[in-house]
């Protein structure tokens, strides 16, 4: 059997390219599906916790107003808490525009501001159930903040990471 080697190489490339094109289209669908599932979960987890603090602060603001209670410390804590939450992105800032936002730090600030607000109100901080349940009562060690082991560490953009999440006792501790 004799053939033109040049031609064969070219033909191989054509077959390869054809397969690659189809594979790429298929892989893209899977990437979108998988990425979306992770993003939904992550976005929910974070905003569910933040929303809790936000709702708590807003409701208390309404209560204080209704009571005509002049409580400057509580009011200032509420304002600061809402201000911090407003800084938190509702979408994932893509790699295109790297921001200087330190997500874990912001989360820590929000949690401690929530605790401060509870203290001024004379109310016990609530231990919240749910995926991202920070333990807002007593756990002062920022290293144990559950958000730390998520995909947010050090970077300002949430990258997909394939490392399995350190899923320790967080989920069963309450």
């Amino acid at each position: 059997m004799d053939f033109d080697l040049e031609e064969l190489v070219h033909v191989e490339q054509t077959f390869y390219d054809e397969g690659y094109r189809d594979g790429y289209a298929h892989g893209r669908i899977h990437g979108l599906i998988e990425g979306r599932a992770l993003g939904r979960e992550k976005g929910f987890e974070m905003w569910e916790e933040l929303g809790f603090y936000e709702g708590f602060a807003l409701m208390w603001a309404a209560i204080l107003e209704k009571q005509g209670r002049r409580d400057d410390r509580a009011a200032s804590n509420i304002r600061h808490l809402l201000d911090l939450i407003a800084q938190f992105p509702k979408f994932n800032p893509s790699a295109a525009e790297p921001s200087e936002l330190d997500i874990p730090k912001l989360f820590r600030q929000i949690r401690s501001r929530y605790k401060a607000l509870c203290a001024t109100l004379g109310v016990r901080p609530t231990l919240r159930a749910g995926g991202a349940a920070g333990s807002p009562d007593g756990d002062e060690d920022p290293a144990h903040s559950p958000i730390e082991d998520a995909s947010t560490d050090s970077t300002t953009v949430w990258k997909i990471d394939n490392k399995p999440r350190a899923r320790g006792n967080n989920d069963l501790s309450f």
Partner: protein
């Protein structure tokens, strides 16, 4: 029946053909494998951002705020001993009931289906692994079903064991929260 199929027939053409199709499918397959990996990697972040911004964050914020409202009302009712509401205990009870029902809700109870994922899974049902989006999430689902199992084994078999909450349940809880706030002369903050 084609006589050329005879194994004794030295049919050069058919040997060439099968060589040819083997060669082509080898390279097509190799390309496909590389392509599927590249395509997936390239789309992960895009999918993540979309799921985060369009579904996860707004849904989480909505549920979280409802929890925050109920928590604030419960803590307010618990702390207000001044005016001795005869109905206070009742309201406090309601606030706590709503609160605990809300904290029972998981993302998987209320997340809208991913239509693309469902359509695609239908497209190739033969690949069972495609139904599961990722290992990490599967782990979480496993953990949740384990929790359910442990709930059921618990000493107090509660009524909630039977069904997971639905989005309608959440809407109903929100309505109860509205009513509760109104009773206290308050309105739920807008979201």
């Amino acid at each position: 029946m084609d006589l050329d199929d005879s194994p004794w027939g030295e049919n050069v053409k058919s040997v060439q053909d099968s060589e040819w199709s083997k060669l082509s499918s080898d390279f097509v397959n190799a390309g496909y494998r590389e392509g599927i990996t590249a395509g997936k990697e390239g789309a992960l972040q895009e999918g993540f951002d979309e799921g985060f911004a369009q579904t996860g964050a707004p849904l989480g914020r909505n549920l979280g705020m409802l929890r925050g409202f109920s928590s604030a009302l419960a803590s307010f009712l618990a702390s207000t001993s001044a005016q001795e509401h005869t109905e206070r205990d009742q309201l406090l009870n309601e606030a706590r009931t709503i609160s605990s029902a809300l904290s029972d809700v998981r993302f998987s109870d209320i997340d809208p289906p991913d239509t693309q994922a469902m359509e695609h899974a239908k497209e190739h049902m033969e690949d069972a692994e495609d139904v599961v989006a990722s290992e990490e999430l599967q782990e979480k689902r496993d953990m949740e079903s384990l929790e359910d199992l442990m709930d059921r084994m618990g000493a107090t078999p509660s009524a909630k064991q039977a069904n997971r909450p639905t989005p309608e349940d959440v809407a109903q809880l929100e309505q109860r929260l509205h009513t509760l706030a109104q009773t206290l002369g308050l309105t739920l903050p807008s979201r």
